[in-house]
Amino acid sequence: MNEGESGLTLTQLARDGTSSQPMVSNLRMSAAAAGDLVAKLAPIARFADMFVRPAEHGLERVLVFTDDQSGGYLRLTCPLDESFPVPLSRVLPAAYQEECELYELWGVEPGGGKPVNRVILPPSAETAEPLRLPGGDRLSSEVRAPHVVQGEAIEFPWGPIRGAGQESLYLGLVTTGEELLDAYLAMFHKHRGLEHRMVGQTLARALFLAERCEGLGSVGNALALARAAEAALGIAVEPAAEVTRCLALELERIYHHVGSLAALGAATGLSVGQAEAEILLEDCLRLNARAFGHRYLFNLLEVGGVRRGADLAALDSGLDRLEARFESLVADLLATNSYVDRLEGAGTITADAAHRLGLVGPVARAAGVATDLRRTHQVSSASYVGFRPAREQAGDSLARMLVGAAEVRESLRLVRHWVRSGTPLQDDWAAPAPGQDHAGGPAEGLGWAETCRGEALVHLEVAEGRVSFARLRPAATRNWRAFDDALRARNVFTDVPIVEASFWLTVAGFAR
């Protein structure tokens, strides 16, 4: 259990709260009281999310915290029209991105006169009219946050269209030549308004959209959404279906980390390593297709279970070859000094920064932070028996690569265990899950999953079988927050692709 100096824990602080689902407690209070509580929570809990939702008496602000030692979430709600005594991000630096978003979406100032970056709206938009308030409909062709670059430095603009097969993103690299001084990111070119689109839709449609939030992480995001819906509607998932979901989640993690190795090969100019990793990536995708019928594991989940089972024989037959090739690739890479040297010290994140910015997944684990929902926030006891989370200390690109490699090994072990040990698995087209028509509500649920990039969170409200409010918080949203910090940490220009490949985040997930 994570204890602060006062010996308090998140569980104790949440004691007075109500609970609408296992592992989630809710507290409701004034903004002033919430400000006090947040100051107590900051050192002992991880800030996971902040969003605004419409409620009966106007808009409400919701903060979500979690405890990475003992599991469990705390949802803190306060009225939006009361402001915090001090800007939240002064106590919780991780919340700055959300503060900026809330300002643009809802017109809420952080308080204390703190300036906000414009992260969504372009400076060319003549109004600061909030996007979600009536009449707010201002998206134009250029989306950049305004800032000043002075002295010897210049801002090298890169994007939004970048290299072949890269996602759109504006990266302003501030440099005097070789050394990187600063970096500005504008990530909302790809904003598709997914949360907004889900409102009024069926749960099946919401799941379809959640899968396409990040195609390279479709299972993880869909799983978090399915779990949120199941929590809201009290739908139980059969153990066989639950393990099948975890199986798909681990297959996703394997191809994701292998994809990162391919990108690292390209970024370091190691063509042979890149080619070997790409061969392995294609093998992973083909194995996904043989096991579940889709290279990126789309259309697999549904609220209440899975839509189809795995072809276990096909999966089983591919695992050994995959593992052998993977081990030989990693051994070759680590024996290549020029490769290891480039990764070492590139894009370093300290453990302290990782805590402060609320980082999740492999990026946090590579900086020495023990956070893995598969260990602490298990939804079902059937799945992750004997699970061993990965951890490194250095926080640089090499540490992230090593964490990725360790996670592939662990995922392969888990998959093999599930496939070969006779664990009940969905092995055929699934019968319609109970509660198919998803009637009922209004109700709310929080869903989570340890996706290949870390914790994904979904807060869902359902009324009469349809989504009435949705908030998606993919892992990418949290971890991009550390990308510019990582670039600032004594890097040169050519380190940028290496740091990006070792983070291996998606713009799609951030921009939603």
Partner: protein, 175 residues
Amino acid sequence: MTPTARDPGALPLAGAAHGEIDAAAVRLKRRSQAVLRRSLHIRTVDTGSCGACESEIRLLSSPYYDFHRLGLFFTPTPRHADCLLVTGPGCRAMDHALLSAYEAMPAPKVVVAVGACPLGGVFGADRYTRGEITDVVPVDVVVPGCPPSPLALIHGLLLALDRIEERITLQEGEQ
């Protein structure tokens, strides 16, 4: 439209596909050299994809598909591009960038729309997305799938060469 197990993105690629790729390789290289008297250069633009289409595009240059041997190359600048490979549902914030890239390309040029997104199959037209990218740039070839597999993309590029050939013939006829 919900993609089903029947769409190309969902088709497992059998080992036999290699023969198919090789045959396509020979045809494509001969064609690009006959038509352009050089290789075909491709610029990619993401207008809000989920990232899976990009992953398949990146694999075009991987050893399994190795599209360089077909005389196909990515280019970092639209000024050298014959073909614009567009993914995503046409996020409005990308309108300007997409149109600039298209306008910077020399004629004859083709646009290949990749996946269900730019066809309006995933998102409709609203204040965030165009739904169909034809509102911004003219589309010559569509490659359906969510995402289309690298093989389907190669097929699409073959069709793109057809369009370029038609355009060259037309130009020469006018001269």
